[in-house]
């Protein structure tokens, strides 16, 4: 990046961070109670709800990260966009949105562990799920921060580095992560969910404009759809069909990214912020529309980058699956625009973890501290702010030092959280027969299966971290291991939970909530369909 473009980059980043600080201060006026802080006072309308849901799902990190699969698997990845919108947005709003909002308000719950423990009338569930959430959301936050290293390495390919202990870190990465960590602490501790939702709206605009700009500049450069399909076809005809090059791996990826949302606390908790049922109904339209446009175009970009490299397009020689999209952006956009959008995407990526931070922080302050000490909401609000600070500080330090153990855990943060939440949450909304013990034991079984499956059948990189690459070379090449390793641990652990939950429920009817309680909550959910 030229010196002039570097100035543009840092200016855009600082302007964005200044906007966050101002948004935080304005949000402070609306943040007086714990409910204001955690769920924006349950006052969010359809536009902000729809955009916030979309951005939390397809974070700015996807603009860069999505290029990897698109490069490797070709055009078949458009199915990821379509099924994600169908299963991860449409079905979630239609089946879970109204019920979650009604029941969340009825229980006065602000967190998912609170929701699940009240639904099954067992406080142990709150502690169990909150510990898993606190731990894995922090790890997930680290992975979001680390995703930026790729983006910044394209922007500053020759940047100086410093060595901290045994780790070498590029200075722009260090500065960006620390700077954004500090700003995130300021605006989140001051503005809470109100501040987070406003930054979501800005991030949604940046993503929409950025993705469309890269796509259209890229497709023109590659010679239109004819140029794209001809070039990709000459590399490998399987890049032009579904599932094609992706095979079973692509189908598994679609299942993980679409159904995985059903168990993500940061997604479920979006519905707690809705003002009315109407916010959810129209939020669905906005979220579907935004998500489809952003996702469908974003998933083309990696393939466009690959085709351009094959055509020998200037500036594309250094492109690879990991850096495909930022390199494409720098190659096809005018220098000023490339600098502007690379900075905007960087800034948006850094704040994409804000809901993750809030969920992780509340995992301790509300679900553990307030539950145990029975402190007031004011006291819990103070502890939530303090925990926010600690979570961000821990994530920033881990993102800089990047210890091997954290890198390993990043790989199944989603699967681990979905293992303990998804099935109890979904069954809890639709089936009266579920019991507290079933939620606890099926969650624990699913969690253990997710981790074991990862280590035994998909653990090549994990084994290498503990010096077992030689052993993996033998074990991992066995036909059965290769075959089973194609199945993601998310899918396997969910199948276990799906079988275990109803079975254990039937065997542990003693821990089932009373019939009066169940009739009451199901009538609350039924009414959600006719509420305004």
């Amino acid at each position: 990046m030229a010196a002039g473009d570097e100035i543009i980059f840092w200016t855009v980043l600082i302007v964005y961070l200044a906007f966050l600080a101002i948004a935080g201060i304005f949000a402070k006026k609306k943040t007086k109670t714990l409910e204001d802080f955690m769920v924006a006072g349950r006052k969010i309308g359809p536009l902000l709800l729809g955009l916030s849901f979309g951005v939390t799902y397809f974070s700015a990190v996807m603009i860069v990260g999505g290029g990897l699969q698109s490069w490797i698997w070709g055009l078949g990845v458009v199915w990821i966009a379509s099924i994600d919108v169908l299963v991860g947005v449409f079905l979630v709003f239609v089946f879970f949105g109204g019920r979650t909002k009604s029941l969340g308000k009825h229980f006065e719950s602000m967190t998912v562990p609170q929701f699940i423990s009240k639904r099954y009338e067992d406080p142990k569930l709150q502690t169990f799920t909150s510990i898993v959430i606190l731990f894995f959301e922090t790890i997930y936050l680290v992975s979001i921060y680390m995703g930026l290293a790729v983006l910044l390495s394209v922007i500053f390919p020759t940047a100086a580095s410093i060595t901290i202990g045994t780790v070498t870190v590029s200075i722009p990465y260090l500065v960006s992560v620390v700077l954004c960590g500090v700003i995130t602490i300021i605006y989140l501790t001051v503005g809470g969910a109100h501040g987070a939702i406003w930054t979501d709206a800005v991030e949604s605009v940046i993503m929409l404009v950025g993705v469309l700009l890269i796509f259209f500049a890229g497709i023109i450069a590659v010679g239109g759809f004819t140029g794209l399909t001809t070039t990709l076809g000459s590399i490998d005809p399987d890049l032009l069909v579904f599932p094609g090059e992706g095979g079973i791996g692509l189908i598994g990826y679609i299942l993980v990214t679409s159904f995985g949302v059903w168990g993500m606390p940061q997604m479920i908790s979006r519905f707690y912020t809705a003002e009315k049922q109407r916010s959810i109904k129209w939020g669905l339209v906005i979220s579907c529309f935004w998500a489809f446009i952003v996702a469908i175009f974003a998933w083309f970009n990696g393939s466009i980058a690959r085709a351009l490299q094959a055509q020998g397009y200037p500036g594309m020689a250094s492109a690879n699956p990991t850096n495909a999209v930022p390199v494409l952006m720098a190659a096809v956009l005018p220098s000023v625009l490339a600098g502007l959008f690379l900075a905007a995407v960087t800034a948006a990526s850094l704040t994409t973890g804000e809901k993750v931070i809030m969920i992780a922080a509340s995992g301790f302050s509300i679900d553990v501290y307030q539950k145990r000490t029975k402190c007031s909401d004011d006291q819990a609000l103070k502890v939530t702010r303090l925990t926010t600070l600690v979570v961000v500080a821990v994530a920033v330090v881990l993102a800089i030092l990047q210890p091997d153990a954290v890198l390993a855990l990043c790989m199944f943060a989603w699967s681990a959280m979905a293992a303990v939440i998804l099935v109890p949450y979904v069954f809890g909304l639709f089936w009266k027969g579920g019991t507290a013990k079933a939620a606890l034991y099926s969650g624990a079984a699913s969690f253990i299966v997710a981790i074991m499956w990862k280590i035994i059948f998909r653990g090549g990189s994990l084994w290498a971290m503990v010096g077992g690459s030689g052993a993996w070379a033998i074990w991992g090449s066995l036909e059965g291991v290769v075959l089973l390793g194609q199945w993601h641990e998310f899918i396997i652990s969910q199948v276990v939970a799906l079988i275990a939950f109803p079975l254990i429920s039937m065997l542990t009817k003693d821990s089932k909530p009373s019939a009066e309680f169940l009739n009451e909550i199901f009538s609350v959910m039924k009414k959600s369909h006719t509420e305004e």
Partner: protein, 48 residues
């Protein structure tokens, strides 16, 4: 004239992509349409 060109261009994009890819895009578009229909239906039901 413009409309004819547009139809021609739309046709050619669909023809250039394999049917498995076009189907994926159509599923996404139909989901958005379904979202609008479902919301309007819910509004009507709620109002009635």
């Amino acid at each position: 004239m413009y409309k004819n060109n547009l139809i021609k261009r739309k046709k050619s994009v669909c023809q250039m992509l394999d049917w498995t890819i076009s189907l994926g895009i159509i599923v996404g578009i139909l989901t958005v349409v379904l979202a609008v229909i479902w919301t309007l239906w819910q509004e009507k039901k709620g109002g009635g």
